[in-house]
């Protein structure tokens, strides 16, 4: 049963990610990316990461994609030619890396049976959100604060890069 869910999500993720690259119209690409984000969130739910699934939908599908659609509609793009003229090289690189990845995955890998390799372990009874919160605000507090700084810098940078110059302003 879990296998059926995984194959459905994996199939749709694979197809929509190929469609993102293949569509000529950028809005179609953004919309197939939206479908992919929802199915990645479904995959997270099957991996017992429900909080991450919710965050994925809110942040990726709800904020990032909306930003993309705004910019695509603002710029009012005509259809450009689709593929770079060096596309055979890109296909070759992609094919080689795919073969390498499949060979590495199919080879016998030594997976530990039950690895308690970290100092923290997921407490199944208390749920996914509590487990993340327990770790995020104690062990990973400093990266958490740095992440807020990253967001501040990105906000300031985006405003400065995209604003228009006021007339008569000296450089």
């Amino acid at each position: 049963m879990e296998l059926a869910f995984f194959f459905y999500f994996a199939l749709v993720i694979g197809v929509t990610s190929a469609l993102v690259v293949a569509f000529r119209n950028p809005i179609y690409s953004a919309l197939s990316l939206l479908i992919m984000f929802f199915h990645v969130a479904g995959l997270y739910v099957t991996l017992h990461a429900e909080f991450l699934a919710a965050v994925q939908i809110i942040v990726y599908a709800g904020a990032i994609l909306v930003l993309y659609l705004f910019v695509v509609m603002l710029l009012n793009i005509k259809h450009d030619e689709r593929y770079h003229r060096q596309w055979p090289i890109a296909g070759l690189i992609g094919g080689l890396l795919l073969v390498e990845a499949l060979v590495l995955t199919a080879a016998r890998y030594h997976a530990p049976t039950v690895a308690t390799s970290g100092t923290e372990s997921v407490v199944e009874q208390s749920g996914n959100t509590e487990a993340i919160a327990e770790v995020l605000y104690s062990t990973y507090l400093f990266p958490f604060e740095v992440a807020s700084l990253i967001l501040l810098v990105a906000m300031i940078g985006a405003i400065i890069l995209a604003k228009k110059d006021i007339e008569g302003r000296e450089a």
Binding site: V21, V71, D80, E134
Partner: protein, 101 residues
């Protein structure tokens, strides 16, 4: 039966390679940025799969931070695209060749 970890890794590899080919092939800057988002999503799938199979929640915490960085990168990237479009009225990457030798 549970899904073996190799399936998640294979899916992540396929999505990552699709994003990589998209970055290399497409000439539209916005589609290139969308393909970068595909690559980031692939690594997130990888992290969450590892977090589940090794029973360590640190993988999910890292996905949290990767999501944050992806959002910041999208904001700045789109601002750059807007600034480029104002300068040149095109978003075809072949036109931006000032830094070429």
């Amino acid at each position: 039966m549970t899904v073996p970890m190799a399936y998640y890794l294979t899916l992540s590899a396929i999505v990552f390679l699709t994003g990589l080919v998209g970055v290399l092939i497409r000439r539209n800057i916005i589609i290139i940025l969308l393909s970068v988002e595909l690559m980031l999503n692939a690594t997130n799938i990888n992290f969450v799969a590892f977090s589940q199979y090794f029973h360590n929640v640190a993988g999910q915490v890292f996905v949290f931070f990767a999501l944050t960085v992806a959002a910041a990168e999208v904001a700045v990237g789109l601002a750059i695209i807007i600034a480029l479009y104002r300068a040149k009225s095109t978003i075809n990457v072949d036109e931006f060749s000032l830094l070429k030798w």
